[in-house]
Symmetry: none
Subunit: 192 residues, 4 copies
């Protein structure tokens, strides 16, 4: 009967939100600015989210989930530890090169005490890491001293930090094949 929710609008909203939170911080990314950038009405997003914080947080959790779900797939696909790791990193860099804003968005909010990964999502992510850890330890590719949190730090956080270091201080917009190989070589050091 009535119009159907325009998915394009919601998508534009998400893109603009990520972009402006990165550019101006959560506080600096005003609702009006976001709405304008997304070409939607200023009060539009309240139909989809309870408020600005809720919107940003929801998008953040979505992105987390997207990334880690893919990680989960790689683990299932390929039981080799180094292979899985490389796939994960390459996938992540792929996102960085196709949707840099997403990786910047993760970079910014990952270090914010007001944004915490949802318990449920975090548990699921940690289970993925646990799985890959088991594979690594079993195949002798991974130092068994390294716990799940360590792996999370090395694989996920380090990669984000590596990529954003290029963005923030090297004014580099694309992550090259050389960068990937360099990163992989660093990570491998840590893992064994």
């Amino acid at each position: 009967m009535a119009r159907i929710t325009d998915q394009n609008k919601v998508d534009r909203l998400k893109q603009s939100t990520m972009k402006l939170v990165v550019a101006h911080g959560f506080g600096g990314a005003s609702a009006a600015l976001i709405a304008k950038d997304a070409r939607v009405a200023s009060g539009y997003f309240y139909r989809h989210y309870k408020g600005k914080y809720e919107m940003v947080n929801a998008i953040l959790q979505e992105v987390y989930q997207e990334v880690f779900n893919k990680f989960g797939e790689f683990i299932k696909e390929d039981s080799s530890f180094p292979g899985s790791i490389e796939k994960m990193i390459r996938y992540f860099v792929g996102i960085a090169n196709s949707e840099p804003i997403k990786v910047k968005f993760l970079y910014v909010l990952t270090n914010d005490y007001n944004f915490v990964i949802d318990d449920e999502i975090r548990s699921k992510n940690l289970r993925f890491i646990e799985t890959i850890r088991n594979i690594g330890v079993a195949s002798g590719c991974l130092d068994e001293e390294l716990g799940v949190d360590d792996l999370y730090l090395i694989l996920f956080i380090m990669t984000i930090q590596f990529i954003n270091q290029k963005y923030k201080y090297a004014d580099q917009e694309q992550i090259t094949e050389a960068d990937i190989n360099h990163l992989l070589s660093i990570l491998q050091k840590f893992l064994k």
Copy 2:
């Protein structure tokens, strides 16, 4: 005497600023809130800083400088590469345990695209890292594939991330000796 009072005020202001920026983000830490927490008049800090952003940024650069100056001292004191590394990490964890707010503050603003290390400070910091890198490479302890940025990432960023992971997700308030050793063992991996 007047200057002593004044210095206390400025110190309280810095502490409150770091605390509230961590707790509520830059945007959420209002000048009034900070002033109240510091037991200082709301218009007080304009005598010392041009505005809120300038104050936060100035404090951030100070903290950077404080940390890296100490790093510089360690390098001069002890020419052994692994020794310097350990001293740096232990010093950093020392700050975390005596002034956790400082390390949280670094954690938060380090990943903010609106706060960039001043060029001058950054250069100086990189020179310190360069020095230690040279020592490492010369002594055969360090893979010469690892550049200055890599070392920055590994020594500085990784340590911050490691500590804040404990704060944010493990509800841990103190970094224990075991934690330090674990961190050191991880970091040592990239040494030859």
Copy 3:
């Protein structure tokens, strides 16, 4: 059948409007809230009313008319002054006990400078009061010093205020027989 559904909707709308205007005031009773409460689409009532104000006002006038029309009937039915008065009061209390929201709605909007009884309705109402006044004066039951406005005040306003005093401050939901008799005894004092 379609018309029946429609009438139900309109009725639900009126009920919800009265309820929410009482509970949150005119401004606080949002169109969306009313529509939701009435299980009706938010744009529905624009087919029946020009806007929110017009809807509320129309309902108010309807309720006025409903009450006073009944008053008119009582006057015609029974020419005794005290009998008419009692019938009116009992009728009004009857509404209060079966549809308290209506009497609360009148209570709230009766004292609002933005809602004025329509001239036409007011004239008609005053004519009823005039009629009963004549009967009262003629039968010696009513002090002839009391004008139409006085009678309106004593019979209508006082009764509304009496009932709502019970609702608002005595947390009483039903008006008892004792209350009615008490009210009647007070009103009678005024009239003679």
Copy 4:
């Protein structure tokens, strides 16, 4: 050291608030409109009140208190029941003639389910009424059937309603001596 709160501003704020709440209702009296009318900054009143509702409610309670405190004085001054009553009514009408907005404000919010007299103030007011009731009953001037609530209704509510009836429907701006006498003659009826 700093400026001292300008009492004129606060007073203008109160006047404008009452005026605009009467004219447009609580919801229609926007913060911006009130501030503009009071010639203060739009965010000014948040330094004195938690929000718009709190401001309006605080002013309402003040006005209640002002009126009833005066009532209390009259009761103490003059122990004659009819004398006290007359003084109260004349005082109230005096307010109506010098500050009509106050009586209109009471009229409007007295019938709002969102504004309730503070328990403390209400108790005090009822104690005054109780005192005068006792005097009335003791002196044989008052039917002991009439309770405190009845007296509140008759003396306070009826007077407010009487006065506002003149304002709202008779376009009368001043309450005349004749009006007062008429009102008094009505009120005297419930005396024995």
